[in-house]
Point group: C2
Amino acid sequence: MTEAENAPDDILDRPIRDEDGAIDAGLVEQVSQAVLLSDLTTLRAIVADMHEADLGALLEALDADERPRLISLLGTDFDFTALTEVDDSIREEILEELSAETVAEGVRDLDTDDAVYILEDMEEADKQEVLGKLSPAERIALQQGLDYPEESAGRRMQSEVVAVPPFWTVGHTIDYLRDTADVPDRFFEIFVADPAHHFVGTVRLDRLLRTKRPVPISELVEEDRRVVKATEDIEDVARMFQRYNLVAAPVIDDAGRLVGVLTIDDIVDVIEEAADDDVKQLGGVHADEELSDPVPAIAKSRFSWLFVNLVTSFLAAAVMSLFEEQLSKLVALAILAPIVASQGGNAATQTMTVAVRALATQELGAWNLRRFFTREMIVGLINGVGFAVITGIVAAIWFGSSGLGIVIGIAMIVTLISAAAAGVLIPLALDRFDVDPAIASGTFVTTVTDVVGFFAFLGIATLWLGLA
Amino acid sequence: MTEAENAPDDILDRPIRDEDGAIDAGLVEQVSQAVLLSDLTTLRAIVADMHEADLGALLEALDADERPRLISLLGTDFDFTALTEVDDSIREEILEELSAETVAEGVRDLDTDDAVYILEDMEEADKQEVLGKLSPAERIALQQGLDYPEESAGRRMQSEVVAVPPFWTVGHTIDYLRDTADVPDRFFEIFVADPAHHFVGTVRLDRLLRTKRPVPISELVEEDRRVVKATEDIEDVARMFQRYNLVAAPVIDDAGRLVGVLTIDDIVDVIEEAADDDVKQLGGVHADEELSDPVPAIAKSRFSWLFVNLVTSFLAAAVMSLFEEQLSKLVALAILAPIVASQGGNAATQTMTVAVRALATQELGAWNLRRFFTREMIVGLINGVGFAVITGIVAAIWFGSSGLGIVIGIAMIVTLISAAAAGVLIPLALDRFDVDPAIASGTFVTTVTDVVGFFAFLGIATLWLGLA
């Protein structure tokens, strides 16, 4: 690397991300070098203008020991918000290495939602040490957020809100906003609360801007129908944001007092995470698995799911072993049986995928359940007949036995109809028992199709081909 | 149903959705009755205060013939925005039934993004008929959006923006907003453009509110680094919104002129849809499949995917048939082979799921590819050994043959390592060739694991157990 390449001017011209959206490899290399050499000039020049999301991605791309070094070197020049943008395991690793002073200094100026996000997974003792270094007001605000349950609206809310009493005028409010330094960095709505902090309603900024100064705030208040309770589940809140196109929503406590605000940028992450969890769980991967997790953790969590699958495979094998005699008489049965089971498994996965997502997005309810079930059964029947014909003809020609063709055809129809039924009923039953259908459906569903597939094919073969 | 239940007062007290978030079945019944009886009083009372999202959900819950009737009955009391909230196939069905006058009347007052969304899938002739009934200004605004490619930012943007010249003052701008009726319903930022409409920058509403009247706008302008080109792919734009926590972004044309704005509420839908597409495609379901699609469409699209799977199943069966002699000599092989293939398939699916999502969310790039591949291979090896031991012991005991146990153990290790390799390399290769890895990975991956699983198990058995 030449000296010219290290000059600050040049650094700012570097693209931060490559065309795939990943952090630029050259930049990572440069930062890594600068950390090694404790080259503060270069580091400051690079991070000075960097968005927290890019800084987070940069952190992730560094080696594990370089991350806390970078943060310690930069001191207050490091924007701790970046820690909300990295994988959980990386954040935990970094926080363990940093001193309580550094963390306290770093979270001090953050919005409470970001500070809570950073602190929540720390060891209780470390967390208390950090909180102890903050001012009482800061500590109380953070402790309030941390006291709400995980995955609740209170845990994710920002407690800094702009709230004015209903008897103020538009002019008074605007003057207040102009003269007060202590308002959030960015806000979309002004909340109205009475002197006892009880939430009254919302005033949109664009309405405030468009109204004459003498008008009282009480005339602009919209009585929000979409108020969030601090104890509400954050995924339910996210669903509401998405459904009603909200940008922000007030959060109240059990006594109706305004305690914070939830904004769409936090909610977008919740929505993406919920969808991501579904994808992973349907693929047999634990929802918490992150790309940066260490090998032993991943091997262990994948193992448990594969173990369940192994048990069900042995169950299917046990079904096959009931027909040991027939299999040894006619080896074509052994060759064709997996085809039936595989078609059943894939057809069931299709139905199950649709059912699981429709349940997650609340598109499937009492009103359309019967319609959905009927439709899936008919689709199963149609495709069952289609594949019965194709598979039957191929099998008959391959093994020169029309009997075998008929047997596999009938088995295919039976299996695909069972697949449709299992694909609907198993996710629904799990949902009814409050088990997340995305986690467990796959195993149950393929067990059903394997068992039905083998049993139908080998059973019908035994009867039809006189192999008993 | 009693008369009292039909009274408007009572109607408004009804819950719109049940606790699962689905539209209330009683409400659907009531609306259905009112449509049948052309009871406008009841219908108006029900929809008067209803959010477009609820109205959309209500439409979906009605029977197909009741939907256009409801809209025609209500006339201008029906908020056409609700049509952006229903499944595509339902919207198309409804639009076919409505007259061009009704549609033109309905889209006239909508924001352009909603109007474009409703019109874009109509037959070209019908679309032109509707556009012909609008004023030239309205028509040009909509035509501009419709002319941008599908899935582009220009197609999804709203062309109504608040734009002021840089030489205005804060006071002038606020007065303009107060006195002009023709500004969008809701906005988060004010854009600054020069007299030739070239985009200059953005002023946030909260900054505008907090600044004294005589300050010129040019002092508040933030030169936006996140400007969207109208031709950009909307999923890339969504990724940017999510990464940088944006709420709105200006859209410019090739000449740098401000042509519209994209807001987070549209982007949230894009993010959810992208995740949803991944879920469906990984489950072997076409991304466009919607819950309301008719049976033939669904059967057909599912069939094509299952057909691909059938072909690969026959390929795996062909591998098995190479060992016909061995299978007939030792029927335990036929019973155990599917277990090896199934473990391989599931392990590969785990790896593939993680790879596909990491590619989709741009978490996997050149910088961590090797790390990811190595990790997956090690996980494959660890779990391969683990399942080799378990399966080997069970198989040895079950069939009373330690040789069989050793064979299935070795086959398990080989298969799980291949599964890890296939689970990483196949999605990556597809991505490199610009094929969406979510669509095709599953088929290729399970083909590899089936073939490897059967071949490894039966091949090793042939050599080890002397069955050749």
